[in-house]
Amino acid sequence: MNTAVEIAGVKFKNPVMTASGTFGSGMEYVDFVDLNKLGAVVTKGVANVPWPGNPVPRVAEVYGGMLNAIGLQNPGIDVFVERDLKFLEKYDTEVIVNVCGKSVEDYLEVVERLSDEKKVSMLEINVSCPNVKEGAIAFGQNKDALFDITKRIKEKSKKPIIMKLSPNVTSISEMAKAAEAAGADAISLINTITGMKIDIYKRKFALANRTGGLSGPAIKPVAVRMVYEAAHAVNIPIIGMGGIANAEDAIEFIMAGATAIAVGAMNFHDPYTTEKVVTGIEEYMKKYGVEDINDIRGIVE
């Protein structure tokens, strides 16, 4: 039975990853999960310099999910390399570093800084965070800007590049095509969908930032649809995410066309989720006679 998948020449022992920003750098989940069991750890977004993020409240629970407006708080690339990457070196799992920035130059600085880090398998470029005012999302909602930043990053990066797409667009196919045309090695989707919650008793927004990104099971049907559309629009591999809670959800994304999948908000509901998804996929394969996980990718047409 084979659960290994390959993306841009990188081999992952299974298709299960952590969704950026929901798993720290893995450190916070070692009491619950054996990181060696995961296909990859995808780290929280990191910028060229430390970012303080948004004011609190930054998170709010909603029906079947949550809103977040963390605002990409991060300690900056130097601390990240010294501490988080060093921590991850102990583990036999692939590491994908999620990169954020306010300008193309910000992104390029981080990309170059990571190009020679051995432990880093791929870079995931976050051009889709709805919670920071400058940059970021702008690249993710305009196909020309997306093409441009992808191209510039590809020129500089020695690591394969995953472009992380925003669902807050009219056509995900067009965005996926733009990323592919500019040379992206893979795409990941979906980032959060912009939402809002109002406390009618306090007459205030639940989040200091007013809007936040919706994630969790509530968004799964939208995510599956976008993975399917993207898979039919491009030939590069897709990493699917959005509301994955268990192995069945993971397989749904794979059948829609994803090569790998990531678990996000559901880590908060059950910190064991990622490992359970790994085991659950194996059980499904055994039970239904799937020899190779790659055989069911995109099987529902």
């Binding site: 993020g53 930054r58 029906y63 079947g64």
Partner: protein, 266 residues
């Protein structure tokens, strides 16, 4: 630090303590390794609500492997918990957070201060201090509890471990006013403060502690998602660059909920 886990905990007993406030004992191995001021995340069964509810550990009974939670019903999660009864299972995540550094009170006059639903975690704090051997024990333990009215839940239990002082907003019990009013009014002797309660109270305590040259350790609250330091949802502002975040932010769920007041930018 004790390993965190998410596990089913069995309800040993639950009773209504006063209007809207419940007193719950849970059997869980987490009990073996808990520090006062730590908390757990309790998960509702209702599958439309997915996040754990942070609730402080009010008391620990190692012998029964049990923890006690005292909480107010404010929304759907706590409403659901209040319906659990003996033998039911509740999923909990813990132990979470750092807890009160009671060793800082060794040989000092310690004061535990609680306001409203901030009162519970101080019970175990006072109890642990009172159980310490002479060398590590505070020279004196006082408790100052602030309530809205005469519904002074838990206060009788504090009097076993501490000299009791009460403040009530409506003046029906103890000093009319807040906990600082009670401290001043009753001349509560004080070198080290351990406090939990609403933000205005904590701000007042920080200022008061500075004014009398006492140390204060404050337990903060914020909306949480992960509870384990991963999501960066629950931060508070710090005076200096925080060691973990490298910005002026610390994670309440992991670096707190208890902070040295001097390090906070409230």
């Amino acid at each position: 630090m004790a390993e965190k886990m998410k596990k089913a905990a069995k309800v040993l007993s639950q009773k209504k303590l006063s209007e809207g406030i419940f007193d719950l004992w849970l059997e869980t191995e987490i009990a073996q390794n808990v520090r006062p001021g730590q908390f757990v995340g309790v998960y509702p069964e209702n599958r439309s609500t997915l996040l754990p509810r942070p609730i402080s550990i009010c008391e620990v009974d190692k012998a029964r492997s049990a923890i006690r939670l005292v909480y107010r019903v404010v929304g759907s999660g706590t409403a659901e918990f209040s319906k659990a009864s003996e033998g039911d299972d509740l999923m909990i995540l813990g132990p979470l957070g750092n807890g009160f550094p009671i060793d800082k009170a060794a040989g000092k006059r310690a004061v535990v201060i609680g306001g409203g639903i901030g009162v519970p975690p101080l019970l175990e704090t006072a109890k642990r201090m009172s159980e310490r051997s002479d060398a590590e024990a505070p020279s004196k333990i006082s408790a100052v509890m602030g309530y809205r009215n005469s519904d002074t839940f838990l206060s009788d239990e504090f009097s076993r471990y501490a000299e009791m002082h009460i403040a009530s907003e409506d003046g029906s019990v103890g000093t009319k006013g807040n906990v600082i009013d009670a401290m001043k009014n009753d001349n509560v002797e004080c070198d080290v403060i351990f406090a939990c309660g609403p933000m205005p109270m904590l701000k007042g305590i920080k200022a008061y502690a500075e004014s009398i040259g006492a140390k204060a350790y404050l337990s903060l609250e914020e909306r949480m998602a992960c509870g384990v330091g991963a999501c960066l949802g629950c931060v508070c502002k710090t005076k200096e660059v925080d060691e973990h975040s490298h910005v002026h932010n610390a994670r309440i769920c992991t670096d707190g909920p208890v902070f040295d007041a001097d390090t906070l930018d409230l």
